[in-house]
C-alpha cells in the first residue's frame, strides 16, 4: 500500500474511533464547565487544554467528532438512498422524458448553494443537527444521481446487458442485478468524498449557527466560539481546526486510494 491511502485510512480511522469512543467515555464531561480552569494551555491533566468556560477541549473534540460523523453519515445515506435510484432510473430511461425530468430536477437543486438550502430549512424548522443532516443530504442527492447515471450509461450498451434483455429481464431488474454491482466501486469512492464534504459542511453550518445547537458539541461551533480568543489562547481554535483538516484530508486520501484500487485501468498503469 502506498503512503497516501495508508495515512488516509489511519486519520479517518482515528476520527472514527474517537467518535465511537466518545459515546461511552471521554476524559471529562464534554459539557462540564470549570471557570477556574479556563483557557489553560495543553498539559498533563488537559492534553489539548481548556476553553473559556474551562471545558476540556479533548473531550469536546471527541464528542464533536461524533456529531460531525453522524451528520455526514446520515447526509451520505440520504444522498445515496435517493440519488442512486434516481440515477439508475435516468440511465435505464436514457433519452426519454423521465431522464430529462430527473436530470433537470438535479440541476435545479445544484443551482442552490447548500448554505442557502440550509438557511431555508433552518428558517422553517429551526437550527439543529438533524436539519443540518437533511440540508446536506439534499445537496448530496444530485451528486449521486449524476455519478450513477454517468457510470451506468456505458454499462447499458455492453453485450451482457443485451443478453439479460434477451433473457426477458426488465430495466429495473437489470439495474439492480447487473448495473449496480458493476458501478458499486465508483459509488463507494464518491461516498467517501461526499462524507468528507459533509464533515466540512457541518462544520460550516455550525460555525454560522445553523447546525448543532448548544449543548451538542461540534467542531464548527468550537471554532466559532474560539475566534474572539485566537490571540489570547490559540490552541482553542487550532485544535478543532486541525480536527476538521486532518479528518477531511484523511477521507480524501482514502477516497483516492480506493479509487485507484477499484479502477482496474488505474491499477494497470501503476
Amino acid at each position: 500500500m502506498r503512503i497516501g491511502p495508508a495515512l488516509g485510512a489511519a486519520l479517518a480511522g482515528l476520527a472514527l474511533s474517537a467518535a465511537v469512543l466518545s459515546a461511552f467515555w471521554t476524559p471529562y464531561d464534554a459539557g462540564l464547565m470549570a471557570i477556574a480552569d479556563k483557557l489553560q494551555p495543553p498539559s498533563g491533566a488537559h492534553w489539548f487544554g481548556t476553553d473559556h468556560f474551562g471545558r476540556d477541549i479533548l473531550s469536546m473534540a471527541m464528542a464533536g467528532a461524533r456529531t460531525s460523523m453522524a451528520v455526514a453519515l446520515v447526509a451520505v445515506a440520504i444522498g445515496m438512498g435517493l440519488g442512486v435510484p434516481l440515477g439508475l432510473l435516468a440511465a435505464a430511461r436514457r433519452g426519454t422524458w423521465t431522464d430529462e425530468i430527473v436530470m433537470r430536477g438535479n440541476d435545479l437543486i445544484f443551482a442552490f448553494p447548500s448554505l442557502v438550502i440550509a438557511i431555508l430549512i433552518t428558517a422553517v424548522w429551526g437550527p439543529s443537527a438533524l436539519n443540518a443532516m437533511v440540508a446536506i443530504g439534499i445537496f448530496n442527492v444530485p451528486v449521486f444521481a449524476r455519478v450513477t447515471r454517468g457510470a451506468a450509461l456505458p454499462v447499458w450498451v455492453l453485450d451482457y446487458i443485451r443478453a439479460a434483455r434477451v433473457a426477458g429481464k426488465g430495466a429495473g431488474l437489470i439495474s439492480v442485478q447487473h448495473i449496480l454491482p458493476n458501478i458499486a466501486g465508483l459509488l463507494i469512492v464518491q461516498a467517501t468524498i461526499q462524507f468528507s464534504l459533509g464533515i466540512l459542511a457541518e462544520a460550516g453550518l455550525s460555525y454560522v449557527g445553523l447546525g448543532a445547537q448548544p449543548p451538542t458539541p461540534s467542531w464548527g461551533r468550537m471554532l466559532a466560539e474560539a475566534q474572539t480568543m485566537v490571540a489570547l489562547a490559540p490552541h482553542v481554535a487550532v485544535i478543532p481546526g486541525l480536527c476538521i483538516v486532518l479528518t477531511v484530508l484523511g477521507l480524501n486520501l482514502l477516497g483516492d486510494g480506493l479509487r485507484d484500487a477499484l479502477d482496474p485501468r488505474l491499477r494497470v498503469r501503476r
Binding site: 451482457y160 443478453a163 426477458g168
Partner: protein, 517 residues
C-alpha cells in the same frame, strides 16, 4: 534495413518471444501471422521500444548498425516516428478527438523536424493527399468524428508516414474495417511501399490478407517463428504442422447433413425501423423480408451500418418496429413487455464480444442460468447448467468460476451454452465468431453444426464476413442500406453474385490464390 536477431522476451519464467529473427528489407512487405498470444504484437512493441514497464527484450534489433534495444529512451523518441512509424487496429482511438486532422499530422512534423506551423501544415496537406484524402473534400480543419473508420485509418497512416520512415509497422490495420474499406487501405499500403521504398511489417491473423500483400511471411506460434520464407513458397509447402493447421482452419467449413424441407419458423415481413436523429430521420430497415425455416441456417451479410444488427434487435424483440411484422411460430414478436415470455423463450442470442457478453461479477452457473428468468428456474437447474457445460465441451466443474478465468473461445462456448439452456428454436448469432482465432473459430463452427443436428436448431448467422457465412449457412442474404439486395445459396451468392453490391463485396474479399491451395 532492419534486422531482428534472436529477439527474446519473458514475463517471469513464461517466454513471450523466443529468438525471433526477421529481415525487413526496404520496399518489401513482410507478413507476420499467428493467433492471439503468439507474440506478433509484442514483436512490434519490442522493435518500437514500447514494451510494458518492467519488460526487457534480449537479442538485437539492428537499424543502421545500431542496436535499438540498447538505445536510450530519448534516442528511441527520435527514432520512433522518424525512422519507424506504426499504425494500430482501432482507428477510433488512435486519433485525438479534440484536434483537427491537419494539426495532428503537422504535430509529428513540428515535433521531429522543428518545422514552423505553416510549413508543417503544408507538408501535412501533401501527406493527406498522398493517403487518399484530397484537399477539396478533406480540408485540414476536419475533426476525426467527421470521418469514417477507413478515413480515420488513412489519417493514422498519414501521421505514421509523415516523416517518410524506413519501416512502417501495421498491427492488424484493417481488422476493424469493412471488407471493401479493407481492400482500399491494403491497396494504399502497397502503393506506399512501392513508391516510397519503405519496409512494411504487416501483422495480421488473416492468412488471405497476407497472401495478397506480403513478399515474405513469418508464421508465429507461442513466441517462436515456426516457418518463414517467400509467401508463395510457405503457402504452397506448409512444411510446419502449425502452418498446416492454420491453413485448414482458415478455410474450414463443418460437415453438415442434408436438411429436410421444413415449415418456416421465423417470418419477417416488410419490416421498417426508423431512427430519429438531430439531422433528420434514418431508415435503418427498409421493408425487409426474411424467412428462416426450422433447422435452417440463414446467413446475413453486410457492411457496418447496413442495418443487420438493428434487424437482430427487432427480431429478438428488443427494439420496436415502425412498420411490417415479425412472426415466430405464427405468433407476433413485439418489443418490451407486450411479448409473452413463452414466445421470448423460443429465441436466444450469441453476441460478438467474448469479453463483454458476461457480467464480470457473476459466476458461470448464475450466468448460464439467466435465461431461466423466462421459463422459471427448474429445481434441477444446477444439473441443467452442468449438462449445458458438457454439451459445449467444457467441464461441469467450471460452474463456480468467474468469467475472467476463461479464454475467448471458451467464453464463446459459454455464450452458446447460455443460449441453449432453455432449448430455444432459434439462435441469433451476431458476429459470434468474428473475434475468434481461426482454429478456435473452426471448433466453434463445428460445435454449432453438431448442436443444430442434435436439437433441430435454426440459426440466423449475422456477419460482415462472407467467407465465414459460406461454411455454415444454407442460404445467404446480402444487406445494404437497410434493404436485402440479394438472396440465395452461398455458392451462388459468392461465386456468381448478381447485385452490384454483392459483386463489390466478393471482389474485396481477400483470397488465397487457387494454385497455392
Amino acid at each position: 534495413m532492419i534486422r531482428l536477431e534472436g529477439l527474446s522476451l519473458a514475463i517471469g519464467r513464461q517466454p513471450v518471444l523466443d529468438s525471433v529473427s526477421l529481415d525487413l528489407a526496404p520496399g518489401s512487405i513482410t507478413g507476420l501471422v499467428g493467433e492471439s498470444g503468439s507474440g506478433k504484437s509484442m514483436t512490434a512493441l519490442a522493435i518500437m521500444g514500447l514494451l510494458p514497464p518492467g519488460m526487457r527484450a534480449m537479442g538485437r534489433v539492428m537499424l543502421d548498425g545500431q542496436n535499438l534495444l540498447e538505445a536510450s529512451e530519448p534516442d528511441m523518441g527520435r527514432i520512433r516516428g522518424r525512422r519507424i512509424g506504426m499504425i494500430f487496429q482501432e482507428p477510433m482511438t488512435a486519433l485525438n478527438p479534440l484536434m483537427t486532422i491537419g494539426d495532428q499530422v503537422a504535430e509529428v512534423l513540428r515535433l521531429h523536424e522543428g518545422m514552423g506551423r505553416r510549413t508543417a501544415l503544408d507538408r501535412a496537406r501533401e501527406r493527406l493527399d498522398r493517403v487518399g484524402l484530397p484537399a477539396p473534400r478533406f480540408p485540414l480543419t476536419l475533426y476525426p468524428h467527421e470521418l469514417s473508420g477507413g478515413q480515420r485509418q488513412r489519417v493514422a497512416i498519414a501521421m505514421a508516414i509523415a516523416l517518410r520512415p524506413g519501416l512502417l509497422i501495421a498491427d492488424e490495420p484493417t481488422t476493424a474495417l469493412d471488407v471493401t474499406t479493407q481492400a482500399r487501405i491494403l491497396d494504399l499500403l502497397k502503393a506506399l511501399v512501392r513508391d516510397e521504398g519503405m519496409a512494411l511489417l504487416l501483422i495480421t491473423h488473416d492468412l488471405a490478407v497476407v497472401a495478397g500483400m506480403a513478399d515474405r511471411v513469418a508464421v508465429m506460434q507461442g513466441g517462436r517463428v515456426v516457418e518463414s520464407g517467400p509467401t508463395g513458397t510457405v503457402f504452397r509447402q506448409r512444411s510446419h504442422p502449425y502452418t498446416r493447421q492454420l491453413f485448414s482452419a482458415s478455410r474450414y467449413s463443418p460437415v453438415r447433413g442434408p436438411r429436410p424441407a421444413a415449415p418456416p419458423l421465423l417470418e419477417v415481413r416488410d419490416a421498417v425501423r426508423d431512427y430519429r436523429l438531430p439531422q433528420g430521420g434514418l431508415r435503418a430497415l427498409d421493408r425487409v423480408n426474411l424467412t428462416v425455416a426450422r433447422g435452417e441456417s440463414v446467413g446475413l451479410v453486410g457492411e457496418s451500418g447496413c442495418g443487420k444488427s438493428t434487424l437482430a434487435r427487432v427480431i429478438l424483440g428488443l427494439d420496436p418496429l415502425q412498420g411490417g411484422r415479425i412472426r415466430l411460430d405464427g405468433q407476433d414478436v413485439a418489443a418490451g413487455r407486450r411479448m409473452p415470455r413463452g414466445l421470448r423463450a423460443r429465441m436466444q442470442a450469441v453476441f460478438q464480444d467474448p469479453f463483454g457478453s458476461f457480467d464480470p461479477r457473476w459466476r458461470v452457473d448464475r450466468l448460464l442460468a439467466e435465461p431461466f428468468h423466462l421459463t422459471g428456474r427448474p429445481p434441477d437447474w444446477r444439473d441443467r447448467v452442468a449438462a449445458a457445460l458438457a454439451e459445449v465441451g467444457l467441464d461441469p466443474g467450471d460452474a463456480r468460476r468467474f468469467i475472467h478465468e476463461f479464454s475467448g473461445g471458451q467464453r464463446q462456448r459459454l455464450a452458446i451454452a447460455r443460449a441453449l439452456i432453455i432449448r430455444p428454436a432459434l439462435i441469433v448469432l451476431d458476429e459470434a465468431v468474428s473475434a475468434l482465432d481461426v482454429r478456435v473459430r473452426a471448433q466453434v463452427l463445428d460445435l454449432l453444426a453438431r448442436l443444430q443436428a442434435d436439437h433441430g436448431l435454426s440459426y440466423l448467422f449475422i456477419s460482415h464476413d462472407l467467407s465465414v457465412v459460406r461454411g455454415i449457412a444454407d442460404r445467404v442474404l446480402v444487406m445494404q442500406a437497410g434493404r436485402i439486395v440479394e438472396e440465395g445459396p452461398p455458392e451462388q451468392v459468392i461465386d456468381a453474385p448478381r447485385h452490384s453490391h454483392t459483386q463489390a463485396l466478393v471482389a474485396a474479399m481477400p483470397v488465397i490464390p487457387g494454385d497455392w491451395i
